[in-house]
Amino acid sequence: MDKIVLFGHEPEFAIRLGFTKTAKKFFLQLLVKGIEMGNFKKSDTLQRSLDAYQQILKKKENMCHPLLNKMSKDEIWKYISDVDIGMDEVMTRFDMLNESGVFPLFGRQFSNQQSRLILLFNSNILRFIWQNDFGEAINQASVEFAEFCRIFEEYKGYCKSNNLL
């Protein structure tokens, strides 16, 4: 890897950007409260990460689900993975949550693993619940929405001013 640029502070919220030898292709990783999201092993363009950020800005109010806000991470995971209720109900739940934007994809850099992410917004806090790959632990961490936006704006500005998109 040629160069790594870090935006933000790892113990709070950070974006790690890795350069490759291919123009316009980059590694990408998010760190929420120091916990890694993505394995930093697949490179791709960066536009999708900015698209996901724009969607979060637009849909954050829809990402507030009173039912899920009261649940623990394990209860939420069961809610979205409970196949005992039947695929019809599973798909109904998925469509409802997907429509409200709680399953953002920050780029193909995150798609080479059997990952899953749910993102909830409540009282100006973004709550991340995610699994990086098959059989791995389910992580949970929260970050203030203003801090999330501040770091993403910094990252976005860097991408644009350095013609990375």
Partner: protein, 260 residues
């Protein structure tokens, strides 16, 4: 000897009836047929010539019965273009390809397996930049298989493609196993399946694959799996194949390729 040949013939004839006409299988079948006598050969070829087998080559078999969410007609020579909101679209297609037959001793050389793919360009090169030249076997077999299945945004298209590949790699309960954490998706498994010719998944992200399943259920109905699940060409028949094996007559999809 004749019994063995007859049983083999019966099995292979069934396979051919279940699937598209495969040049590799057909050529392999002919010597066995000859051994049994010209009557069988004549009956078989007459059936073939009468068009019963040609049903597999007829794109009309994919015409919709009911599709609550039809998409506009799709031309493989044109780019998928943008949706009404200006978002770039990606084609999802099902055609035939013979790559795996070059790698495996189990497959007859030239055997055509179904192949799922996606492209942001036209499918056939010509007027627009295309994924395949017009001479490519993928173009030749496009109408034989599902053709252009539909078009949607790139994230969803990757999910649809991967859902179809996972279905034909792990079986009809792959979604349940995937969601409940029992199934580890692997491109190695995809390379080894003889149901389809794909070599890898375009995404392993569960959210993306679920988005793809949602799209398939919307456009092809809740039984989308039966419409896209291919019997194993040369592998051991599974229980799940027996009840749902399509025939040339009953394999009509309940929904037209959304958009196509």
């Amino acid at each position: 000897m004749e019994k063995v040949v007859a049983e083999s013939l019966k099995k292979q004839a069934k396979v051919i009836a279940l699937r598209t006409v495969s040049p590799g299988l057909f050529s392999r079948l002919l010597p066995g047929l000859s051994r049994l006598g010209g009557v069988v050969v004549l009956a078989f070829t007459a059936d073939y010539a009468a068009g019963n087998m040609n049903g597999w080559l007829d794109p009309k078999r994919f015409q919709p019965l009911i599709n609550p969410f039809p998409l506009p007609n799709l031309d493989p020579k044109q780019k998928p273009g943008d949706d009404k909101d200006g978002n770039k679209q990606t084609y999802i297609y099902e055609t035939g390809r013979s790559v795996k037959s070059y790698f495996s001793d189990d497959l007859t050389s030239g055997t055509i397996l179904p192949y799922f793919g996606i492209t942001d360009n036209a499918f056939i090169a010509g007027i627009a930049i295309g994924r395949y030249s017009k001479e490519a076997e993928q173009v030749k077999y496009l109408p034989t298989f599902g053709g252009i299945i539909g078009k949607t945004d790139r994230v969803t298209a990757e999910g649809v493609e991967s859902a179809l590949i996972a279905l034909n790699t792990y079986g009809k309960d792959f979604d349940i196993k995937m969601l409940s954490g029992q199934l580890q998706l692997s491109s190695r498994d995809v390379r080894e399946t003889t149901r389809i010719d794909n070599l890898k998944l375009s995404t392993k992200s569960i959210n993306q694959i679920m988005t793809g399943i949602s799209w398939l259920r919307k456009h092809y109905g809740k039984d989308w799996q039966n419409q896209f699940y291919h019997p194993d060409l040369l592998g051991k028949p599974e229980e799940s194949d027996k009840g749902s094996s399509p025939s040339p007559q009953d394999n009509t999809r309940s929904a037209k390729p959304p958009g196509g």
